[in-house]
């Protein structure tokens, strides 16, 4: 039971990192990134491939973060001149293209078979549960640093500008600021965070295949921040906890009702995510942690 809770906590924190990245991009700046999972995948594969070739994990994690952030740069330059909805479509297309590339380039990513036996973190600690605790501790520290860092960013002049871009881009332009530059920076930061989350994911799960990086993951994160409350760090955290309850809870339902098959359960999960996205957008767009006084 303890091992199970630790495992859930680790996955939850990975999702918190993803949600924080999206909160920075959508919540604070208003960028509709529908391709978050693409950057998550880039981080995971970069770190896994480098570590398999003998690079120390600290460096491979850094590389995963940086490569994911850099991948956002050209996308940002191209797409940020576009309208909101076009940006969403382009990023969605980007994440699907990333998935096609990791499926097809077998020499690099081993295609659909995926990369097995990725080096674990803290492989030196022989006691299994202790190693998991160490992973959890590191993730917790990283997440707290990310949350504090985001708090700093939001209160800084940079944060005021990105929030102003979300609220009224023309006004920001009129003040002589270039919104596009700030948007690219935000996109890189958020995607780097997603890449870091990907690196943790790859080295914790130790096995990655292209099918783990479908657009559904992007919308798990979207659901988390919409339920939690868009544009709030607390919302990202609360939303992710609820997401984990939902994803993991469905596993327990199968214990009670074993006649439901795996694929059926996946369908049910998909449906619940869809329904929550619809209901929250219609009836409670500000999310659970949002302002309760207005609708």
């Amino acid at each position: 039971m303890e091992a199970y809770l630790v495992a859930i906590a680790i996955v939850a924190l990975i999702y918190v990192l993803l949600a924080l990245g999206l909160t920075l991009q959508y919540g604070f700046t208003g960028l509709i990134n529908f391709g978050h999972v693409g950057f998550f995948a880039i981080g995971a594969y970069t770190s896994a491939i480098l570590a398999m070739n003998g690079l120390p994990l600290v460096l491979s994690f850094a590389a995963g973060t940086i490569v994911a952030g850099l991948a956002a740069w050209p996308i940002g330059l191209i797409a940020l001149r576009l309208r909101d909805d076009y940006f969403a479509i382009v990023t969605l297309g980007f994440s699907e293209t990333v998935r096609l590339v990791i499926t097809s380039e077998k020499w690099l990513t081993n295609g659909v078979q995926g990369i097995p036996a990725i080096p674990r973190m803290f492989a030196g600690i022989s006691v299994g549960s202790l190693a998991s605790f160490a992973v959890l501790a590191v993730l917790l520290v990283v997440t707290i640093v990310a949350i504090l860092g985001m708090g700093r960013i939001v209160k800084s002049p940079f944060g005021r500008i990105i929030e102003a871009i979300r609220d009224n881009e023309d006004a920001v332009k009129a003040l002589g600021k270039d919104p596009a530059r700030f948007k690219v920076q935000v996109l890189i930061l958020g995607s780097g965070l997603a890449g870091l989350a990907g690196a943790f994911y790859a080295h914790y799960i130790t096995y990655i295949v292209p099918d783990q990086f479908i657009p559904l993951v992007t919308f798990y994160v979207w659901m988390a921040i919409i339920i939690g409350g868009v544009g709030r760090v607390s919302g990202a955290v609360v939303g992710t906890v609820l997401l984990m309850v939902l994803l993991e809870g469905s596993r327990f339902i199968r214990d009670v009702m074993p006649f439901i098959s795996d694929v059926e359960m996946a369908s049910v999960r998909l449906g619940v995510i869809g329904l929550l996205l619809i209901l929250f957008t219609i009836y409670r767009p500000q999310g659970l942690m949002g302002d309760f006084t207005r609708r």
Binding site: I32, A79, R83, W222, V263, L270, L277, P285
Partner: protein
């Protein structure tokens, strides 16, 4: 000759993309959002056609079932979901349409299972024409698409409700001031969009294998074709769909089967960078 064959194959695929893009562009033009549920609505149409076909064995009944059921579904989704979001931001509508798509796919997966199902159509000897191999079934599908297209364009350009729809797409405020009832236009729009999506879904299902994931893969090509054709331009959407279908097939010998899907992404980027109005766009020069 090899390439000519690829072009012929691409045309049928292109008709499907074109119909899907037509659905996307109609919603975008009149209701003003990118409907990400289009793909999964196509899947629904494919299953409706499958049921109709299994029950009677007639392709006409299958087509009728696809058109009728999908039009009704589309109207229901509008009444229950999109109508409540009128006047809300683009994100709200986009995210909700993703949610609608997921919900549809989930329900289809639960009801029909994840086994791949096939339309059992009789095998016919292909027609050879100067070395080109043409499957008569493809000709039937092309005829179905042509009928659907003629139907849509008749509604759009030869009926009062079509004129009102175009008026709302052109200038919503002006249309409302002129006494056009937006509710009626929306009902007609979603019925029409549903019918088109149903036909596209049925054709896709007949060309490939019916599974709950069938339509999602078509979403990106449909968006790409709608933008390439110029958003809000029905003629442009169909022509761009044909172009994209042919381009996908022609690219296969060079980039391989998997990457053929990413052609639509590349086309999408190029159009947005070079000519965001698309080929026939006149409505908005905004990108």
């Amino acid at each position: 000759m090899f390439y000519a064959q690829l072009i012929v194959n691409g045309l049928v695929q292109g008709l499907i993309v074109g119909l899907a893009a037509l659905a996307v562009t109609l919603v975008f033009g009149v209701a003003r959002f990118a409907n990400a549920a289009t793909g999964d609505t196509m899947t629904f149409g494919a299953y409706a056609a499958l049921i109709g076909h299994k029950a009677t064995g007639s392709l006409v009944v299958a087509g009728g079932a696809a058109v009728g059921a999908t039009a009704l579904l589309s109207l229901t989704v509008y009444a229950l979901v999109f109508r409540k979001l009128a006047g809300r931001s683009v994100v709200a509508l986009l995210v909700t349409s993703i949610g609608v798509g997921f919900l549809l796919r989930s329900v289809l997966g639960i009801v029909f299972g994840h086994n791949q199902q096939l339309f059992t159509v009789p095998l016919v000897r292909p027609i050879r024409f100067n070395g080109l191999i043409i499957n008569p079934f493809d000709l039937q599908l092309a005829a179905v698409a042509a009928v659907a297209l003629v139907g849509v364009f008749l509604v759009l350009y030869a009926t009062p409700i079509g004129r009102r729809m175009r008026a709302v797409a052109d200038n919503r405020e002006l249309a409302l001031v002129s006494g056009i009832r937006p509710e009626r236009v929306m009902i007609a729009l979603w019925l029409l969009v549903g019918a088109v999506t149903g036909v596209a879904g049925m054709m896709l299902g007949m060309k490939t294998i019916v599974s709950p994931e069938l339509g999602w893969e078509m979403l990106l090509p449909a968006f790409a074709a709608a933008i390439l054709g110029g958003i809000g331009s029905p003629v442009g959407a169909v022509l761009a769909g044909l172009l994209l279908g042919v381009a996908q097939e022609l690219s296969t010998p060079f980039v391989g089967f998997t990457y053929k899907l990413s052609i639509s992404f590349v086309v999408l980027l190029l159009v947005l960078l070079v000519r965001p109005r698309g080929l026939f766009g006149r409505l908005e020069g905004v990108r």
